[in-house]
């Protein structure tokens, strides 16, 4: 009964979305406030309906209601509770439902932020948002209904894909979707501005927190996915340039560019047309990502089903929204007036360069991901574009961007002085050069890329934090005064510095992987295997039986230069219902590095294959991403961006500006 109610609520949400689409648009056109206020009301109602629908499906999973096809195909009564919940979105239908749930959630938040958004802008924005909701609700209701019943109901379900039975599934998709779908708000704001034909710094100020928030979540989502692949797939890689990964990287690159160009627009009223275009492109890439993953054009763990009908439908949505918004852009953008001027050497100029490199990097990933598909369709020729291509083309684009980053962050707005800026970074240049040379000497004969990359990372970290120091401390200032000054700097300055330092940390982690070592061998209990300074001894292999799988557990003792530092367990599992085997890597963290072991086949002579890696500083890759997202979150708390602040603080005294 609840299941039918959930289905009905979804259909109701579709009807309400139609109202949310048509009425506010009309209201904004006719300048009728009564019609415009329909937008927030209906947005909240749509959210309530979709949330109810989502809860209905969740309850079917929790109760193992095997009369629902979706539950049969993706659940099992013996599955642990957490996977019963995360299993709701561990399949095509459920994940699309999560997608629209988040879409409606964002619509609801925009609806509640009534005080900070002008009425017309809010009405138009929510109408555009409703158009996206309508398309995806239609998609779910016609091709991917999660509420389909099955008669007669089977006694037991087919269990969830074992690779997905992991805490990663509980976190990765929601984070990623909040990021993906969050960009729909920037998109809706951009379209609303185009519909209205008006755009200014106020628009940028309103849009920026949404972009920033979406970006921070997408960063976390990608990092989480990367760490999950790292420990689950068992060969120690953390980024595979898989089309599915690229699908999330493209909106991230475009979103990063968008985040930076909105700053220019907010502060200097410049780059308007480009910012609008980027907002459209970023969400278009999110839609493309959804299409690539959901249509089954690419087969992988992420594509739960191969179904051409669904692919065609999403392709239709893609063409409608990308084509529609770009047409709107072509029609209205020439009417937008350009604002503030700036010299080429200035903070704005540096941010233009940032956008150029990020957009090119994004285009590179785009062409590399789609070219093989297009070539095969057009000429029938089959080629592969994999990691070697991306490493070869992507790095030359990213390295100059990173080299310029601290300079750009230090340059003054409007008109900068390049030499003066470089001077402020003298200490940073010197220190990072010193680190690089020292690393070369220390790791003589090792890979060349590693010291260079780590040096670059150190340069980024120091260069980002340098701004905090130079803005609060000069020779002779007592430290207490400097600290007070630093604390008085705007939160967004802190956020920027921290996020950029996070980039540096990730770069260090990535570069240090070149120092990684590995060992390979067949071990019997008591035998040892070496990887660099690290060594493991196989103690025993024991079978274990859990609720929905059985496993062979290898217990390994880990030695660092002969000294025992701990034990790790690595498993080979067999999930009984699906008869599917998986390997679980055993990981021992030492400082920021990890000893990583995975199991192979049992050999005829009773030995078992073991692959051992030592990965120095590897954790920094993901810690860097966490720091980036934390920087974004800190910027969000800046008083300037707080939702509702612009309208409310009019009467309040102006905020204290820290003395320079």
């Amino acid at each position: 009964m609840l299941v039918e109610a959930g289905h009905f609520a979804l259909a109701l949400a579709l009807g309400l979305s139609l109202i949310q689409f048509v009425v506010p648009l009309w209201g904004a056109r006719a300048n009728d406030p009564v019609l415009m206020t329909v937008a927030p009301a209906s947005a909240l109602a749509v959210f309530a309906c979709i949330a109810f629908s989502f809860l209905a499906l969740t309850s079917a999973y929790l109760n193992s209601d095997f009369s629902v096809l979706n539950v049969v195909q993706n659940s099992h009564s013996a599955k642990p509770l957490v996977y019963k919940i995360s299993g709701v979105w561990g399949n095509h239908e459920g994940s699309m439902l999560l997608w629209v749930l988040i879409l409606a959630l964002f619509g609801g938040v925009v609806a509640l932020a009534r005080n900070s958004i002008p009425m017309r802008l809010q009405a138009n924005t929510l109408a555009v948002q409703a158009a996206v909701t309508i398309a995806f609700l239609l998609f779910i209701l016609t091709t991917s209904n999660p509420f389909t019943r099955v008669v007669p109901a089977p006694l037991e379900g087919q269990d969830l894909n074992p690779l997905l039975q992991d805490p990663g599934l509980a976190i990765h998709p929601p984070l990623l979707y909040i990021g993906y779908v969050g960009f729909s708000i920037s998109f809706a704001f951009a379209c609303a501005a185009l519909i209205d034909g008006r755009i200014d710094a106020v628009w940028a100020r309103i849009v920026r927190p949404w972009t920033l928030g979406a970006w921070a979540f997408l960063t976390l989502g990608i990092a989480m996915g990367s760490y999950w692949a790292y420990y689950e797939l068992g060969w120690g890689g953390w980024w595979f340039w898989d089309p599915v990964e690229n699908a999330s990287l493209m909106p991230w690159l475009a979103g990063t560019a968008l985040m930076h160009s909105t700053v220019v627009m907010e502060k200097r009223d410049a780059l308007k047309v480009w910012t609008i275009l980027l907002a459209i492109l970023t969400f278009s890439l999110s839609l493309l990502g959804t299409f690539l993953v959901r249509s089954g054009v690419l087969t992988s763990v992420h594509s739960f089903a191969v179904d051409p009908e669904r692919g065609t439908f999403i392709l239709g949505i893609l063409i409608l929204f990308i084509g529609g918004s770009l047409s709107l852009f072509a029609w209205r953008a020439p009417m937008l007036r350009q604002g503030g001027l700036f010299a080429p050497v200035s903070r704005e100029g540096a941010l233009v360069l940032n956008n150029l490199f990020l957009a090119t990097a994004c285009a590179t990933v785009f062409i590399g991901t789609l070219y093989p598909l297009a070539l095969e369709v057009l000429t029938g020729e089959k080629i592969s574009v994999g990691a070697p291509f991306f490493n070869f083309t992507f790095l030359p684009l990213i390295v100059p961007l990173l080299l310029l980053l601290p300079l750009g962050q230090t340059l003054a707005w409007k008109r900068g002085n390049f030499l003066g800026t470089a001077q402020r970074l003298y200490a940073v240049f010197g220190l990072s050069l010193l680190v690089t040379v020292a690393l070369f000497a220390f790791a003589y004969g090792g890979p060349v890329a590693a010291p260079l990359g780590v040096g670059l990372g150190v340069y980024l970290v120091l260069g980002s934090l340098n701004e905090l120091v130079t803005r609060s401390w000069s020779k002779g200032t007592p430290l207490a005064v400097a600290w007070r000054k630093a604390k008085g700097l705007p939160r967004s300055t802190w956020g920027t510095a921290i996020a950029h330092a996070g980039v540096g940390l990730s770069v260090i982690g990535i570069a240090a992987t070149a120092w990684g070592v590995e060992g390979l061998g067949s071990l019997k209990p008591g035998e040892r295997l070496k990887a660099g300074d690290y060594e493991v001894r196989l103690e025993r292999v024991i079978p274990r039986i859990e609720a929905n799988y059985r496993e062979d557990v290898a217990v390994l003792t880990v030695f660092d230069s002969g000294r025992e530092i701990g034990t790790l367990e690595t498993m080979k599992r067999l999930y009984v219902t699906r008869g599917m085997p998986t390997t679980e890597a055993g990981i021992l963290t030492t400082g920021l590095g990890q000893v990583y072991a995975s199991l192979g086949e049992m050999q005829a002579d009773g030995s078992i294959g073991v692959r051992l890696y030592y990965k120095p500083l590897v954790l920094l890759i993901w810690i860097g991403a966490l720091v980036m997202a934390a920087g974004g979150a800190l910027s969000l708390t800046d008083r300037r961006l707080r939702i509702g602040a612009p309208a409310r603080t009019k009467a309040a005294p102006p905020a204290a500006v820290p003395a320079e």
Partner: protein, 154 residues
């Protein structure tokens, strides 16, 4: 399609074995290093975007052994790759060769960067003029003419 899926399923169900097996490793470390380098650039043809160096599939194992056999026989890295391309087509290379069919693929990054750079430069150079002369004489006249026409119409 069904066959391919069945094949993939069969390979998956075959049980995960290690990518490079201990018994495959060549005795000569220099040769083994070259073998690993080549393997990382070759696609496991039945897998999803995996190199033969990473893959557990039987075919990847066969290819790894083949690469090592060619190296032991004295082939250069390029010769090994050419040999595999002749046998399996260009699909086997994870970094496609530069040619007319991949022109757009290889040139896109450079094109976007250069054209984008020129575009940004031109757009920024051109901007001061219209702003400096907010309404020039001609525009003022045109405006007056329009306003006049408006007045006469009403």
């Amino acid at each position: 399609m069904r066959f391919v899926l069945a094949l993939i399923a069969a390979l998956l169900l075959g049980g995960p074995v290690l990518a490079v097996q201990p018994d495959e490793v060549l005795k000569d470390p220099a040769l083994e290093k070259r073998a690993r380098e080549i393997s990382a650039g070759l696609r496991c043809l039945v897998c999803q975007n995996q190199s033969i160096d990473d893959s557990d599939a039987q075919l990847a194992k066969d290819l790894r052994i083949l690469v090592r056999e060619r190296l032991v026989a004295g082939d250069t890295n390029d010769e090994v790759e050419t040999f595999l391309v002749q046998r399996y087509g260009e699909f086997v290379l994870l970094k496609p060769a530069f040619g007319t069919h991949t022109l757009l693929l290889w040139l896109t990054p450079a094109l976007v960067l250069v054209l984008g750079g020129i575009g940004a430069y031109v757009a920024l150079r051109r901007r001061p003029q219209p702003a400096a002369a907010f309404l020039d004489e001609e525009e003022k006249k045109a405006l007056e003419a329009l306003l006049g026409r408006d007045n006469s119409a009403s």
